[in-house]
Symmetry: C2
Subunit: 279 residues, 2 copies
């Protein structure tokens, strides 16, 4: 691991690291916030934050305003990158923002030219936690959250691994990628046209496989003025599925808010306190 | 005025506007935060935030994490751009980050090719306040703050116009531009080599002209690990001058903090509460 940057913030440390990842076969960058309480003798719980399309490890750390409360509670936060990167990593030939670099969709690609590096599901759910729990003062108490494509990532990874997390939350998540343009484009490219493979990463379907004992505490915030809501995010699909399952999720439609980090900053405190309660 | 963007945040509104400015003879962009309390019937006090080198109206608004407390207190914040911009606006031929675009230094240029558009002192101290107080729900209660080059701007504008502000604060300000490389380069270009013109914009000199009645409440935060401290910022010059004048400034050396917005975010709440106290 190589330390790229270190900044003191709210008494703790924001740090950026790069490392050679086995799963994605390239150098990956992540950022971590370590609150002042975190020491080798007293490790702290860790929130995984998965960002949306076009983001890197930097957006959440710079824009969410999460550190004050994380420092108060004593919780670490990690923000991984949203795709593999670097020379030799495939990208959309036209540089589309919703495919290739910055658009890994937190799945393991099976199709060429993506399969070699686009193994973000394995990176986020296995390799990165192992690395962090070995090298940083964090416990195995894990929560997961994300925004938009990263909200899809947080929900789908939590639903596939409910034993690994104590709670899950999302802002403006893509709730049914198998039926929205962003998801269909990415899944077709990365997974081919096999519907069964798609269903392995669709939160509105995955939720139905959970037993009542696997129902993690779940908080979702969605802006009512989010221009992607109707076509891409489709939060009603997840809300309806949860209702049928008697899964008591906390879905909040926030009046007048949009898809931006201004929305995330307004409610991130609620998410941190929510996760902290279940550690 | 043209509305470029509007985002709901912490119950208030973040908005970006552009307008044709008389002082700088070009289209200027600024961002404003209006807290939920602000209405035409109940205008609120306004904090001017002046940003540092390379910044636009966006950096503070996206990275400082100031809105929660501004919304709680009921204060508006405006973040102007740091220079004129657009076609025909002179820039450093080599694209230096510390001269030309993004580096207006909050002074009125007298030298070619800068004089036509680089009139940031007049824009910030006269034209923008008049515009804001006419078109937005803000009172004439004004405070001013800034970072680095913008810290220089806040201090020097407040010292030259103590009757216009109720308080002033800065993060990592350039305290003596007449003796540091950033200031000498910019002042030589914009003002020529006339030392008298330089002294009109050097806070460590301007402070000596103030009568005790003109000593505004003044808070400065400086990071001890700021790599620009010794060569460019020279905070001891201002601290020493204040001491000689019995000007009771609150200067805080914050151990381990650097020059970044992570530092600003860590202490912006203190600055907002400080200014609010004196409105």
């Amino acid at each position: 691991m190589q330390l790229l940057a270190s900044n003191k913030v709210f008494g703790g440390l924001h740090q950026r690291y790069s490392h050679q990842a086995e799963s994605t076969q390239c150098e990956m960058t992540f950022a971590v916030y370590l609150p002042p309480q975190a020491t080798a003798e007293q490790p702290v719980p860790l929130l995984y934050w998965l960002s949306g399309l076009t983001c890197s490890d930097e957006n959440f750390m710079q824009k969410a305003g999460a550190f004050k409360v994380a420092a108060e509670l004593g919780m670490a936060i990690v923000a991984p990158d949203t795709s593999p990167r670097g020379e030799g990593v495939a990208d959309d030939p036209e540089g589309a923002y919703d495919l290739g670099l910055g658009a890994g969709f937190y799945i393991n690609a099976t199709q060429l030219p993506w399969a070699k590096h686009y193994q973000m599901y394995r990176y986020i759910s296995e390799e990165l936690p192992a690395l962090l729990e070995q090298h940083f003062p964090v416990t195995q108490q894990r929560a997961i959250a994300g925004h938009s494509m990263g909200g899809h990532g947080a929900l789908s990874i939590a639903f596939k691994n409910p034993e690994r997390f104590s709670s899950v939350s999302a802002f403006s998540p893509i709730c049914q990628p198998t039926t929205c343009p962003w998801g269909q484009k990415a899944f077709t490219a990365y997974l081919g046209s096999v519907q069964q493979a798609w269903q392995e990463h669709d939160s509105s379907l995955l939720i139905k496989r959970l037993t009542p004992e696997q129902h993690l505490p779940l908080l979702i915030d969605q802006g009512s003025d989010d221009s992607f809501l109707a076509e891409q995010l489709k939060s009603e699909t997840l809300v309806d599925a949860a209702k049928q399952l008697n899964y008591a999720i906390n879905f909040r439609m926030q009046q007048g808010y949009d898809h931006s980090y201004f929305f995330i900053a307004s409610f991130i405190e609620d998410h941190l306190r929510f996760h902290y309660k279940y550690f």
